[in-house]
Symmetry: C2
Subunit: 502 residues, 2 copies
């Protein structure tokens, strides 16, 4: 190992209070440079970052595996997803419809009062702090979705590193920063801070204009409160916990239970149950013995290592709560050994679900699931109706079965994504994706941290009223309108550039 | 006066705690009915409300004049704006681009992993509480912009009446409720609550899913904090105070000062200075004696009545602070008499602005303005750079004068709307309008309470993943896509219905 490599891989130290101030000021300075970059230039920056990450893939995956134990294959796939995501936001910028110009020409006949020329443009909100997640060391971390969308919007980013993969965070941050600086970006465009205290300090800093977070309800709520208590509050986009319930109708259970349970097993143990979209609650008809059939399938599964020893301990403690809950039947009690953890399954009747609701529907980070057994369709509907906000909900059913439609109707009120005969794990990076949901799934139920619309979280509207053409921002000037996705006097006009961007 | 009329005009009593619960439950129940209405049906409801308000115009304007002293002509104009606004949101629904469907067809070749069919629809967020403003008894009150946009989104509305015009609030609320009920809406679709305690209780009620507010920074921040401290926080769209600074470059002052001062006078005294867009700060070159010239013009203006005696007292107290500020020159001290108030003008040098900044840049609700005199262009830029978030900022300048461009550049960072050689009062209800701005102008800098985009505040995305066509919401089904504004696999396709909606 070369000396340079070794230094790149050392564990970064907590950022001091003085350094936090410097970071914030540098981000503020970089905002002036960044906001002048065109969408094409921002696309190129994202491409440069993606290319630089591709180039360090071997080192990055090796360090990530050492720090997270997630397995090389999964980590390679996750890095590919991450670089695709960076490039995808370049396409989002070109397509334009997520952030269109809206132009009203002056109209002396406009109802009530003459209307001046109005041009609504979107400007970067300013420096953004991103609190990295621990369970996706690439896709929701230093160069993940929040970072990609904030950079796409033209906002300097300060990442608060996740303590679970600090060496990887340093490598990725250095790679991103170097790629940006090679293209002329000031050093404040992308920075990393380390340590919880630095995280709270940077979130409270007046230079910071928005924040994004992926993590637990407990920490997310604490930071949300901090962001709102600032003298100048800022938007806080927190993606917190979710139970991601899965419902099996009686008919689906009677027709294809084996396939569904195989799928459930794979989904809830994916990444060792450390996904925000892990299905932690299976709701099944009582008669089908779903819990026992799952336990049988799990018997041959060996232990898998959790992200860290601390997370393994927390998981063990949470499983202890689950198995000790009044009235549950412990179907399979997982073990925690040096080699990792094995899965835990408990079963609860509807009566038990009612009496232990808050406990049994709290998120269990790791390979644990509650199987709720219902003696009737009405019990299933009742359970669906009791649920808090969720990232996802899934229904296994048949389209000609009203029972399935009933469940969908109740779940839609509570989720950001509803899945039909499928699994919530695996979140496509795509135009239509919405990765969000009512609280506590997120602190901002109208926004998404994955997919094209994630960009909009970091763009602030400004209307230019009555301006002469030459004083408008370039994109809003008459001669450039054909290049832009715009709404003109209320009617949509797609961008010429975007016409065949696919 | 008939007995029915007399009862309609009585002052409503504060809503009790028990009644608040009933109101919230009724709104929750109505949400189920409302969310099934199509955009066309919602348009018709808005049209029905507008028609019903037109029909009570004579009574409504009379009561409004008795309660607010704003003048019959102004109030008639405001009611016309209000009914236009209701109808405009019907057009916004038809145009579709504010709330498009986004559809990704299944794609086995999608990068990283095969993509399932994803259809992102927007669903009403649920019951919305609107805190009415006092200064626009029609346009920002019981049937104002927040209400129109929430109803357009399909959300039941609970209005917390402004105490300054309770009889009008009752009349308008009854009119709106009756119009809705004639079209089959449950009574929970639109309700009024009275009293600050009821307002806080309804904001804290678990059935309520979002809130909108127009009013002061003090009250707005209190309610914002309350909304965020709920066990389940909700989006709070507060439009608070703003100073709406106006800058005059040296060249503009030397070329057309008289016309600018005439315009300023008209703008800052419009509605007796009780507009959220009132320009409360004029920044002018020292040499042009803007403050004295304004005072001369104001000398012949008689007193005008404020919205209420309480507001007149608050205005007098605020003017007392202004004239007592260290170092200001009192150019014209307003009087408060039984007939109303007259305008107040104070002048401050840049040195005084620096030392008394927070005081001199606080909003003065009423006909008072600070004239800041700058001895150089750099002082103007410095002052612009010190300002907090604003709804608007205006620059009087010339397009070939770099001084004007400098000011625009600094102001854009701080405002939601930037006005060129014009006045901030008069907010067009229009496609491109943005009535918002960084805190403290609003608590939600990405959103607007006027214009087409106001609708989006009350719509929550939900993605349907892998659903068969017949189980999708009607609008998202293949056979209906031609009717909708959609984004299909990343490319925009306007709605057939919207093609010539103008």
């Amino acid at each position: 190992m070369s000396q340079a490599q070794s230094s790149r891989e050392s564990i970064p130290l907590p950022t001091t209070a003085i350094a936090v101030d410097q970071v914030a000021e540098a981000a503020s300075g970089a905002a002036h440079w960044f906001k002048e970059r065109t969408p094409d230039e921002r696309s190129e920056l994202l491409e440069a970052i993606a290319g630089a990450l591709d180039a360090v893939q071997v080192d990055a995956v090796r360090i990530a595996e050492e720090e997270t134990h997630l397995g090389v294959e999964r980590l390679r796939g996750e890095l590919a997803r991450t670089t695709f995501q960076l490039r995808f936001f370049g396409q989002v910028l070109t397509a334009g419809w997520v952030a269109p110009l809206v132009i009203d020409h002056a109209d002396s006949q406009w109802p009530v009062a003459p209307r001046p020329d109005l041009r609504r443009v979107l400007v970067p909100i300013g420096p953004v702090v991103v609190f990295a997640g621990g369970n996706f060391p690439f896709a929701f971390s230093v160069a993940g979705g929040d970072v990609a969308s904030a950079l796409a919007a033209g906002c300097p980013v300060i990442v608060k590193a996740h303590p679970g993969h600090l060496r990887l965070s340093r490598l990725v941050a250095d790679t991103v920063a170097a790629a940006l600086q090679r293209r002329g970006a000031p050093s404040g465009t992308f920075q990393l801070v380390v340590g919880d205290e630095a995280g709270r300090a940077i979130l409270s800093h007046p230079c910071v204009r928005a924040a994004a977070f992926t993590g637990s309800v407990r920490v997310g709520r604490m930071l949300f409160d901090l962001a709102n208590r600032r003298p100048v509050p800022i938007p806080f986009y927190g993606e917190l916990g979710s139970l991601n319930p899965v419902f099996i109708t009686e008919r689906a259970a009677s027709e294809r239970l084996d396939a569904i349970l195989d799928g459930f097993l794979q989904s809830f143990t994916l990444g060792n149950g450390q996904f925000c979209t892990k299905p932690g609650l299976l709701v099944a008809p009582e008669a089908c013995s779903a819990a026992d059939l799952l336990a049988e399938r799990l018997a041959s599964n060996g232990p898998q290592r959790m992200l860290s020893d601390a997370i393994a301990s927390a998981h063990a403690a949470r499983c202890g709560e689950l198995v000790a809950s009044d009235g549950v039947r412990v179907v399979k009690q997982g073990q925690v050994t040096e080699d990792g953890v094995t899965s835990t399954i408990v079963e609860a009747s509807m009566a038990v679900m009612r009496s232990e609701f808050a406990n049994l529907t709290a998120e269990s980070f790791g390979p644990a699931a509650v199987v709720a057994v219902c003696s009737s369709h009405n019990e299933m509907l009742e359970l669906a109706g009791l649920l808090d906000g969720q990232l996802t909900g899934a229904v296994f059913g048949d389209e000609d079965d009203p029972a399935a439609a009933d469940l969908v109707k109740v779940l839609v009120e509570r989720v950001g994504r509803i899945v039909w005969n499928g699994w919530p794990t695996g979140v496509a990076v795509s135009w239509a994706m919405h990765h969000g949901g009512p609280y506590p799934a997120t602190t901002s139920p109208l926004t998404s941290s994955v997919g094209a619309s994630a960009l909009a979280r970091f763009l602030r509207p400004v209307v230019f009223q009555g301006f002469p053409d030459r004083m408008l921002p370039d994109a809003a000037r008459d001669e450039n309108l054909a290049e832009s996705a715009i709404v003109r006097d209320g009617a949509w006009q797609p961008a010429r550039l975007a016409a065949d961007h696919r």
